[in-house]
Symmetry: D2
Subunit: 333 residues, 4 copies
């Protein structure tokens, strides 16, 4: 039985506690949060659990094997470091840390101590992303052309980071998982309207073989949009995460270039066919992810969403911020 402690009981913490409790072989034994209101909520929902104000009570507890860190990003490094030093496996919210240097340190520390780090890239465990991954891996889409995500809504949940660190972190974890290559360079633009942190931002990732990824994130949108277009040589798909029943639509559509025949002629021929919305795996993504966390602790395997994956995302975010400050100037990775 893996005994778990959860640090942070704000917006996402309750979901971690609820799901961890349902994972076979896992048991939540303590929750820590500095806020009295959060502790009150935690106690009401889990009257039989140990609730602490001081997270060190959890981190240093010998009764605990693993710690979930569900706090703002600027606190991740200190908490994760302390947890690793105390011999705990670590499950940490995305983004992993607020600097690639700190991420590197944690990775090293975990390796030295032979402990697992898992970064909470929940989307990778959704039925939608798993299906897209499958369609790319089995060649259904053919050679990738582009990945284009729009993730906008009215919301500004964090005051210590810009919209890229909040929203684009999701998209980066997804492209990192889906695209079998590392980005060569990043160009990003954006603007802060309410304070100095960008609330509207755009980034383009250049991959080998002409693959382009573009991410549009915005905290000042009147409507919520969660739509990704993925173009491939053979097929194209639309992932609308807000569609309750048909999140992924695969289009048997394509374009082939033709020889030039005259001023008004088209350069391309279009193939248009059926559309298909595959049924997606049901169940909660976070539950699958936490089960995988328990499994990796159990068998000592490195999760694919480990500290190195978290570090790759942090590096992209750092590059994007650097590019934004120079109004789009490309930053090599």
């Amino acid at each position: 039985m893996i005994k778990c402690g959860v640090i942070g009981y704000g917006y996402w913490g309750p979901n971690i506690v609820r799901n961890l409790s349902n994972v076979e072989g896992c048991e939540v034994v303590a929750i820590a949060d500095a806020s009295p209101a959060a502790r009150k909520r935690a106690h009401k929902a889990h009257p039989n659990l140990r609730i602490e104000a001081d997270c060190n009570e959890v981190i240093s507890s010998t009764a605990i094997d693993a710690v979930a860190i569900v706090t703002p990003v600027w606190t991740h490094y200190e908490l994760a470091k302390a947890a690793l030093e105390n011999g705990k496996h670590v499950f940490v919210e995305k983004p992993f840390t607020n600097s690639s240097e700190k991420a590197g340190e944690l990775i090293e520390l975990a390796e030295k101590k032979n402990l697992r780090i898992m970064v909470d890239h929940t989307f990778l465990f959704t039925g939608a992303v798993r299906k897209i991954h499958e369609l790319i891996q089995n060649g259904s889409l053919g050679q990738l052309y582009y990945y284009d995500s729009t993730r906008v809504n009215l919301g500004l949940f964090q005051h210590d980071v810009n919209v890229l660190w909040d929203l684009a972190a999701h998209d980066l974890s997804i492209v990192d998982h889906l695209i079998d290559a590392a980005p060569e360079a990043i160009s990003a633009t954006g603007q802060g309207h309410l304070n100095n942190h960008e609330d509207v931002a755009y980034m383009t990732l250049y991959y080998p073989d002409k693959v382009l990824a573009h991410i549009n994130v915005n905290w000042l949108s009147p409507v919520k949009v969660r739509t990704t277009l993925i173009g491939g040589e053979k097929r194209m798909l639309v992932w609308n995460d807000l569609d309750a029943d048909e999140k992924i639509k695969v289009y048997d559509k394509g374009v082939k270039i033709n020889s030039r025949e005259g001023v008004y002629d088209l350069l391309v021929s279009y193939r248009s066919g059926d559309m298909w919305a595959p049924q997606l795996e049901a169940g909660e993504a976070l539950f699958r992810e936490l089960s995988y966390f328990a499994e990796c602790i159990g068998n000592g395997k490195t999760p694919f969403n480990d500290g190195r994956a978290g570090l790759r995302i942090v590096r992209m975010l750092e590059a994007a911020c650097q590019s934004i400050s120079k109004r789009g100037e490309v930053v090599a990775l």
Copy 2:
């Protein structure tokens, strides 16, 4: 009575002929197209009109007062120049020309000859853009934050330009009209997958006062999207040009920044209210535009979508292409 000749009877030409014919005080007297198939179609639809293979027959005809140039962009300069030299007013498809230098020459020539140039920025005459213009002008949206347009579909209609010159030209004419300022700089990214011309491209325009415009254009999208988000301090709007009945939705939503109160607290307060979809002016935009063309010829007034407006768009396109070639490096305007 303004006697008009139309050069080019491909995809858009028939609409020009049909609408010009209905404009009070205008008469289409001749159509020219080098393609026999186009001439056949023109003859079938307009059995009583003069149909020419050689456009010079139209351009040099003394029976003609104005010429509509509805041909690929690389032909605009030569045709417009000849028309102006022959004393004709000119209505020319967007983009105005394929270089700002040529655009400047045409503007000068028209001024010397006291002739009108109108660039076909049809969108400016739609009920939707007119309503948005009104809402910005009368302060309904408050200080602008951003303009974010997505204009994607499966289509590659021109082999001589990239997707920016084809699709983004629309958006640029719209932001040029809506935003009461000139952009300071442009950053653009993109990629050509089928040939060297970009089929997927993104551009960010930096305006004074933190106003940002972003344009997403794509010829390789499985679905057609024509959606623009506009954020303002007071209200925000969504313009979905594919919605038959409710193209514009105005949201009484806003964000106000608050003082910092703690780690988990929000930085902002949200205002959320009713949504309102104003009824838009009915009627065909192109008819309104061509009526305005006739009116400007009649009273000698300079249209707001004149050669200078056309030139501004061409300059932005040139800057964007320059930026794309350097992977997003900002180009000052």
Copy 3:
């Protein structure tokens, strides 16, 4: 070459003329309309055609082989009768006639004269209905459960009939075509709010084997809806005729009844799978229908949408009106 005359150049007539003109082996030689405005429009669009005020000029013309009757329903019988008596094949708008008795007379007359009657049930020639027909015929849906159509909008185009004769006539022609059986009985309800003709109406058709068809038509709806649900034992489909790209969605969903196991247990098991939107045949339905008309004239075959099909629809409409007047009392067919 089949020489055609078209009677009626109101809303639908221009489409008939345009499509007939494009049918191989057909030629429109004359148009008749009593309204000077309609004749003016006809002349403008077809300057080389004979335009008559008196339809008898067309009906009795020896230069004409077939007549398309595109006038209000109460005029169909007289016009069709005269046309048949003059030896013309007849293409007539839906509904065929305003009484089953008159429909019977026309059928008899046509048979005696060996002439073709085709009733304009355009929907049967759309890609959507053809695909649904195929899916039912090839067993993809399995045993049919129900057909449920909603056809509502703001519109009252005819003052001589109620909404059933206007809108439900479409649905009845479709169910008549799709369901391989005759309805046993009809129950209908409705109400006229603006005058005595029902502007809101509902009808249920009872078919053998528990197949139920329901039709909801409404001239007083703020939004336009054209949606049909079709449930089958194996699969179910949704036909949204207003969806530009995915009119038909086939759901691999089903229900199977189980034995009863307890108060809170479900009686049924659900099967849920992929959704599939087949590409539909492109092209204009009316063109296909008129080509088929020409083909039937040429080879002497009876079209499936002949007078008898028209009569079946008229009988259902009569039964529905009888039922409405008794507030839903079932009328056997």
Copy 4:
């Protein structure tokens, strides 16, 4: 403090317990369910509550003031009767009972004992229905023309009733609340495909002044639909309960009848204007309803969704079933 017991911890029971617990002045003290699995779930969620297998332990407990009956409809009468006889106020799931006779008995018993009965017509407490009620009451819609609801999905949750008793009960409670008149008569049609209970059904309610209500319910639909059209003389509205943000859209559209002017002329003139989506009251409807229950117990007032309201719905359901068995024959109320 009102001490509450909850009978039934199936699908809806947990919501009742959770919301009742949050109502000021209320306390849930016991839950009863015959199913061991349900009791296990109840215990896990509420470790400190008394959980009983035998509902009589709750109904007869002197420590309890009010009982919520959240069980299948055929058990309501016995349970409610016992609760009232034991001096408990009663909150009971819709439909109130499975016969109007039993409903009448319960009403009488409650009056004799001076106890409250509230029937759980949750929809009446949603922001959507409250807004529609307001728009009808303040004359915004003008004279009502029709109410037309479609409530379909794939689901068959109850084996003891047909789809009318399950789904249409919601719509009937809503029309009963919104329309200031009693229906005069009902015609209903339907069919059971999987067993003898109708899984597809339609009903029309005739109200005075030409007001018509129509309800379409279906357990065999591949898609979930929750859409209601309401037409009025002045304005019309669409209520789409599945739209997260804009559930109600009010259309400034109307129709006025004109004098007849000719065969092709329209009978009516159309008014078309803006659309408006009012912001709706936030918060959970069930919480508002249960707060109102507590309030009515506290001040002795009769709730508007009392036993008599429940009885009216049951009578309509009985009439509809009677009509269905005669294939639509109207049943007077």
